[in-house]
């Protein structure tokens, strides 16, 4: 998986280059928006990590220009701006994810893995947690080595939970991901799916955070 890091802070870039290379990722670094657009046009990476505070042009402008040529290229925004407005502006401009500084390295790696899986550029498409492994390419789920039959929504639900292992997914966000806009959702639909998943994966695999949502513990 090749990554282009667009970051003007040399210290941060150095640290990130080292960290990501150790994860076995091929990473290039540029410090300006102009260089970034140039490099992307010449040799398109799999993922772009884009800092919003660039010296020559605004990160969002870079993103918009980039989107004109590469509508599918996954972009992860990295920024010291943190207001909700900035976040919305970033995602509206076509960013795939958004990580505010200061971030945890583990968080950045998890986001990159998720982006890689989404675009099929990850080294492996398999997420394994405990006895359960989920292949995002073949959409197969193995429990203790045996194939588990999951209907589409249960699979999507499990994928979201496993991709975000260690974090809680709120009921609202899960419902948004499972059902399209305007679709009628029974008030206990989510509970029913979770109930079925627990029967197939073991009752402890998915934990409930009362009143909030569900989580899969990171292994």
């Amino acid at each position: 998986m090749s990554i282009l890091l667009v970051e003007d802070d040399q210290d941060l870039a150095t640290g990130l280059l080292e960290a990501l290379r150790k994860e076995g990722l091929a990473i290039n670094h540029v410090a300006t928006g102009k260089d970034a657009l140039h490099v992307i046009a010449a040799e398109t990476p799999d993922i772009v990590i884009l800092d919003l505070g660039l010296p020559d042009m605004d990160g969002l402008a870079v993103l918009k220009q980039l989107r004109k040529q590469q509508s599918e290229l996954p972009v992860l925004l990295l920024t010291a701006r943190d207001s909700l407005g900035d976040k919305i502006a970033g995602l509206d401009s076509g960013a795939d994810d958004y990580l505010p500084k200061p971030f945890e390295m583990a968080e950045l790696l998890a986001r990159l893995r998720a982006l890689g899986r989404r675009t099929g550029t990850a080294k492996t498409n398999v997420i394994g947690i405990g006895d359960v492994s989920l292949d995002t390419a073949s959409q197969a789920v193995l429990v203790k080595g045996e194939l588990a039959e999951l209907p589409r929504r249960e699979y999507m639900l499990l994928k979201v939970l496993m991709e975000n292992a260690g974090r809680v997914q709120t009921r609202d966000s899960l419902e948004n991901k499972l059902y399209s806009w305007g679709e009628e959702v029974a008030s206990n639909a989510l509970e029913v799916h979770i109930h079925h998943l627990r029967k197939k994966l073991g009752s402890d695999f998915i934990a409930t955070v009362r009143g909030v949502g569900y989580t899969v513990k990171a292994s």
Partner: protein, 455 residues
């Protein structure tokens, strides 16, 4: 409180009174002198009448008829010829063997018959006799006095009227000032727009100009500070990111003993947290904060914040529970998230390993009520007030080990509450020990912008 209007009225009235008094005093003295002259002239007149009639009823008649009524008894005359009293007025000196005044030409002030008199003596050469006409001094004085008093009295009587007029006129004159004061008074704390300047009197024009100038500079300075906060955020967050990334690299490469690195990592975490808290405290300062109120669901926000903080709960093996009604309210999403984050972070911090936290969102009649309870050691009731002070930390011996923190979390909570007109109360939690923080967002805030949807 001192009032310009009251001051002006009192001072002007006092000035008018003083000047009137001085004028009256002067008038009194000149009038008195004039009256003296008049009375003296009258004595001469009488003396001339006396010379013609040489006493007798004609004079008495003149005295009673010609003079002001009632004052006749105060006039006396004598006619002396060769030491013999030929005639006299019948009033006071009928049988007097003595002349009233010394027998010398001209005026004299004399005592006679227990009164003070003003006398005029004249030697009638033709008839070789002394004519003495005298008037009682006290009567003269009373007469003059009453004449003068009658002219001064209207001035004194007019003073209350003058006071009333001054009160009204001063009020009128000060109206632009009180208009300005009420305009300034009704200004919102974050309203830096210039005060209206429609043709003020020239004395106020300068003041209004200075106020507008000051407001302009204040606005610029607020703007600068806001930009500073944004710049500072960027300048501080990036190096902290560098520290975190490099620590991650170090930990990855470390052979076995990572105790010191873990300590370093904890310190970086703490520094990062403090920086965020200080920035947040700064950003949520009610004077600074440009709140954009939208309809939001407190329960949904609480869910998101708990989900974000969950890894930290998990690390401490703490249990959290959210009991939430749907709670629609008007609020600033960023500020409310900050409030929730700080309250729940505090609960996480103080509950310790294996602790329990309960978050309640209720729709009460008073408004949307948010309660965060923890199973930590709690706060003694007498320290409830103090914990809202910036950088106030509880004496951490109660917790056994010092709990790191910046001591400004509750100050931020208070800022956000203030922005929303919410009230904060502290109390004991439903657990065996622990603190319950309740924030009540009033229903009035919901209706303020025309939203009638109450919870």
């Amino acid at each position: 409180m001192s009032s310009i209007r009251r001051f002006l009225v009192v001072v002007l009235l006092a000035t008018i009174t003083l000047i009137n008094f001085l004028a009256a005093l002067h008038g009194y003295r000149t009038s008195m002198a004039k009256a003296e002259q008049l009375f003296d002239a009258q004595l001469v007149d009488i003396s001339e009448v006396l010379a013609v009639t040489a006493g007798g009823p004609a004079v008495d008649q003149y005295l009673t008829g010609g003079m002001n009524n009632g004052s006749a008894h105060s006039i006396a005359f004598q006619v002396w010829r060769g030491g013999v009293l030929e005639a006299s007025s019948g009033v006071a000196v009928a049988d007097s063997p003595e002349p009233i005044a010394p027998l010398s030409e001209g005026y004299a002030d004399v005592n006679f018959g227990s009164y003070r008199w003003r006398a005029y003596s004249h030697y009638d050469v033709a008839d070789q006799r002394w004519l003495i006409v005298a008037q009682r001094a006290d009567v003269r004085y009373t007469l003059a006095d009453s004449i003068i008093l009658e002219s001064v009295l209207p001035i004194i009587m007019g003073l209350p009227l003058a006071g009333l007029l001054i009160w009204v006129i001063v009020g009128r004159g000060l109206a632009p000032l009180s208009n300005l004061a009420s305009e300034m008074g009704s200004k919102r704390s974050d309203d830096m727009s210039p005060v209206s300047n429609n043709e003020p009197p020239q004395e106020l024009a300068v003041l209004i100009e200075s106020i507008n100038d000051l407001l302009g500079r204040l606005e610029a300075s607020f703007e600068r500070e806001k930009r500073f906060a944004a710049d500072a955020a960027h300048e501080l967050r990036t190096p902290i990111s560098v520290l975190k990334v490099q620590l991650h690299n170090l930990l990855r490469d470390a052979d076995s003993d990572t105790t010191q690195l873990s300590l370093l990592q904890a310190a970086v975490e703490r520094m990062g947290h403090s920086v965020e808290q200080v920035l947040m405290l700064y950003r949520t300062t009610p004077e600074q904060f440009a709140a954009s109120f939208v309809q939001l669901d407190l329960a949904g926000l609480a869910r998101q914040v708990i989900a974000e903080l969950y890894p930290r709960l998990e690390a401490r093996q703490q249990q959290i529970e959210l009991l939430a009604d749907k709670a629609p309210m008007q609020g600033d999403a960023f500020a409310i998230r900050t409030l929730l984050t700080n309250l729940i972070e505090n609960a996480i911090k103080y509950s310790g390993a294996g602790g329990e936290i309960k978050v309640l969102v209720e729709c009460a009649s008073a408004g949307v009520k948010l309660t965060v309870e923890d199973s930590g050691p709690g706060i003694p009731a007498d320290q409830y007030d103090k914990v809202f002070q910036r950088f106030y930390r509880l004496s951490s011996d109660r917790q056994g080990a010092a709990i790191p923190g910046s001591g400004i979390g509750l100050a931020i909570v208070q800022h956000v509450a203030e922005i929303h007109g919410a009230t904060i109360s502290l109390g004991g939690s439903g657990f065996a020990t622990g603190l319950a923080v309740t924030v009540t967002f009033p229903n009035t805030a919901l209706t303020k912008q025309g939203h009638t949807q109450l919870c």
